[in-house]
Each structure stands twice: as structure tokens, then as C-alpha cells.
Amino acid sequence: MTLDVVIKHPLGRISLDVSFSADAGLTAIVGPSGAGKTSVLDAMAGILRPAEARIICAGRVLDDSARGVSVPAHQRRIGYVRQEPLLFPHLTVRQNLLYGHWFTPSSERRIREQDVVTLLDLDMLLSRRSGRLSGGERQRVALGRALLTSPQLLLLDEPLASVDAGRKHDILPYLDRLRAELRIPVLYVTHLFNEIADRAGLAIVMDEGAIVAQGPPERVRGDLERTLGLPGN
């Protein structure tokens, strides 16, 4: 499964102009705040309609502005976990988890509710409203909710920002399993390069709306430190 992305879009004082290809593995997008990382994910999820785009996921054209193609967000089969979990406050945790599951045709459901509940340790939370959860709990529910749509591509925007260190060590191996068993490509936005460097097959460094470096994490680590002054480890 491959991913080809070209996005050009004006973003206030900067212009988003990115182009990259990724395989079924985990791709890390790293860069300072305001670099346009989240906008890339928004465009891929179909929430932001770019001025110019060509996005192909596993051979399926999601966006092709030249041909006027833009698949609506609800038909993209892309799981998107934002930095702010945005759970539905009127629903219980279980109803939140199953929200996307209901819209997924049963023939395409590859991930079971119980597996996600067990893995993310959500058993005790199922009947609670999202307003009564801690930041980490909300993020785990958001991750589980996205996984239960059995997505063809998973977009994670700082998904572990409010998850405690112990839970991170539980969740990250599950991402490995997702990639290994289900071959779900993952685009992982983070400012903590080290959090994901060992797992990423490709690292993309963004600044001011553009890609300033991309390649294997070890090579990019130096670019991060040299060009942006960000810690590479």
C-alpha cells in the first residue's frame, strides 16, 4: 500500500507546498509549531479542501484538483486522531467508540471492538461520558474510535501528547501491530522526534509550509538539529 501526496494551499502568511510518497509503514512528520503539519493531515482527511492537490492512497484517488476529484471526508476511510480528542460529549465512551464502526460496512470491519477496548484499557470507562475523562483517557478513546472504522490510512496528530509515559509504551507497540498485521499506513505528526524515530520508515521535516528534508529518520535527525534547531534525540 502506497501513499502519494501533493498539496498546495495558501495558509495565511505562509503557503503550504508539500509533495511526498510513503509506503505501508509509519511516516513521521516533524517540524515546529505553525509549519503546516496539521493542515497536511486536514487536507488528507478531507476536512480542508486545498487549492491544488493530488492525493492517492493505495491506488485510490482521493483528491485530484486537475480533474476536479475530491472524495468527501466520510468516504475516504481515513482514521484521524487529532491532538485535541474531540469526543462527542453527549455520548458514552462506548457510543463514541462505536460511532464510526456503525458507518463501516460489516464486510470491511477488520478490527474488533473488544480488541480495542482491551488494548487501550477502556473497560472501566465504557459507560462514562467523555466530559468525565482525563486528557489521556480521552485520547485513548479517540484512538480507539478511529481504529474501529478499520481505516485504510491512519493520521495521528500528536496522539500521545496527553497520554502518560507508561501508556505510551503500551500504545506504540499496538501501532507496530497495526502496520505489521493490517498494513495500515500511519502518518504521525509529532514534535518529539525521538518518540517515533525508531518506528518510522520515513521522516519528513516541515517548516513554513514546505518540506525541508525527508528520508530515513537517522539521516533526517541531523537536518532537524542543523536547520531548525529542534532536538533530534
Binding site: 468527501p72 466520510h74 484521524y80 487529532r82 485535541e84 453527549h90 460511532y99 464510526g100 463501516t104 466530559g131
Partner: protein
């Protein structure tokens, strides 16, 4: 309360109920349109929706007569094709009351929708819900208190509607003579003051009951939110 009074109250409640329930779907749609979308002419749509609030009710009634009367642009078509008649019928009184209460309902729902994070709907869309489902399953349940509040306001407005109703569908006992119109008629009738006072007290009691119902609904919604 006499049998006649009961009939007047029943007709008034019936007209107000229809005015409120029949306009609710359109009010939700217009509120969603104004709250969630940007389009050319939005200010004009907003102005038209709120026009009944600022126009003299007689003018609204006259416009309704021209549009929905038997020979009106819309009324003629509705009668010919669907057999629906508004002129001099309780349905016309409900239409007039609905039009007058519509801006209040739209405003209450719109304010409530403006308070809901639109990114929740975006999340719903990435989870597989189309725009309509995302709105119906995420935003709409979150604005139930606003919808209830808008309905109560529109109901109360409909209950007290006078100018547009008398202009559009006249003052026909048993058909279009609601509480407000009955009180007006009695004040114009020699010796009708005592009866008018009785209806005034009934009217106050009904409006008060509507406001208490609104408060109870709001409290219930707040309790549900805290759970």
C-alpha cells in the same frame, strides 16, 4: 371557565402547537444554514428570516394574504394542487402564528449551534458520517436545550399572536378566533369586560405555564449534560 372559553383555549393551543411543530424542521435547517455555512446573500437570508420581528404585524398579515390567500401566488397553487387552504381557516391562523414565531425559534437554535464546536462534526465526517448525519447525530443532540427554548418562545409568541392573524384570516369564532382575538372582540363588546378579564387571566396562566415548562426542560438538559 365556560364551555366557550374551553373551546377558545383549545383552538389557541391547537394553532400555537401547529405553528411551533410545523415550523421546527425549517427553523433547524435555516439556523444550521446560518450557523454552519458561508454563502453569497447570507445577510439577505438572515434579514428575511428576522423581518417579522421588525415589520408591523399587520404588514406581515397583509403579505401573507397576498401570498397565501386563495388568489395568492402560493395559496392559489396550494389549493389547486393539494387542496390546502389557509384563507379564513385555522390553518391560516397557524401559518400567521408560525411566521411570527419563526425568527425567535431560528435565533435560539442558531445561538445554541454557534456554541457547538464545528470540529465535532468534522470528526464525525472522518468517522464515516456524511454532513447531514454528522449534524443530526452530533450537533443537533447537543443543542436540544436551545431547540426547546426556541420552541417555547415560538409557542408563547403564537399564543399571543394578534395583528398578522386578524389581517390574514380575520376573526371567525370557532375557526380563527384565538385567545388574543377573543379578548379584543370582548373589549369591543358592551358588557364584555368581565369575560375579557377571565380570558386575560387564562392567557397569563398559559404563558406562565409555557415559561415554567421551558425552565424545566433547560434544567433537565443541564442535568443530562452533567451525567
Amino acid at each position: 371557565m365556560t364551555i366557550d372559553d374551553a373551546a377558545i383555549v383549545r383552538l389557541s393551543l391547537w394553532v400555537a402547537l401547529w405553528a411551533t411543530v410545523a415550523t421546527l424542521p425549517l427553523a433547524v435547517a435555516v439556523a444550521a444554514l446560518l450557523s454552519r455555512t458561508q454563502f453569497w446573500g447570507k445577510s439577505v437570508v438572515n434579514g428575511v428570516v428576522h423581518l417579522p420581528l421588525v415589520l408591523p404585524p399587520v404588514v406581515t398579515g397583509y403579505l401573507l394574504l397576498r401570498l397565501f390567500g386563495r388568489h395568492g401566488a402560493i395559496g392559489g397553487v396550494l389549493e389547486q394542487w393539494f387542496g390546502i387552504v389557509f384563507a379564513f381557516r385555522w390553518t391560516g391562523a397557524a401559518l400567521a402564528a408560525g411566521v411570527m414565531g419563526f425568527p425567535l425559534m431560528v435565533s435560539a437554535i442558531r445561538v445554541a449551534l454557534d456554541g457547538v464546536d464545528h470540529r465535532l462534526e468534522e470528526s464525525a465526517r472522518t468517522l464515516g458520517a456524511n454532513r447531514l448525519w454528522a449534524f443530526l447525530t452530533v450537533s443537533l443532540p447537543l443543542v436540544v436545550p436551545g431547540v426547546a427554548s426556541g420552541m417555547v418562545l415560538a409557542f408563547a409568541k403564537a399564543l399571543g399572536e394578534f395583528g398578522a392573524t386578524i389581517t390574514f384570516v380575520s376573526n371567525i369564532p370557532g375557526e380563527t378566533q384565538t385567545l388574543a382575538l377573543s379578548i379584543y372582540t370582548l373589549t369591543q363588546t358592551p358588557g364584555g369586560d368581565e369575560h375579557a378579564l377571565r380570558l386575560v387571566l387564562l392567557s397569563v396562566a398559559l404563558s406562565f405555564a409555557a415559561l415554567i415548562a421551558s425552565e424545566l426542560l433547560a434544567r433537565r438538559a443541564r442535568r443530562a449534560d452533567r451525567r
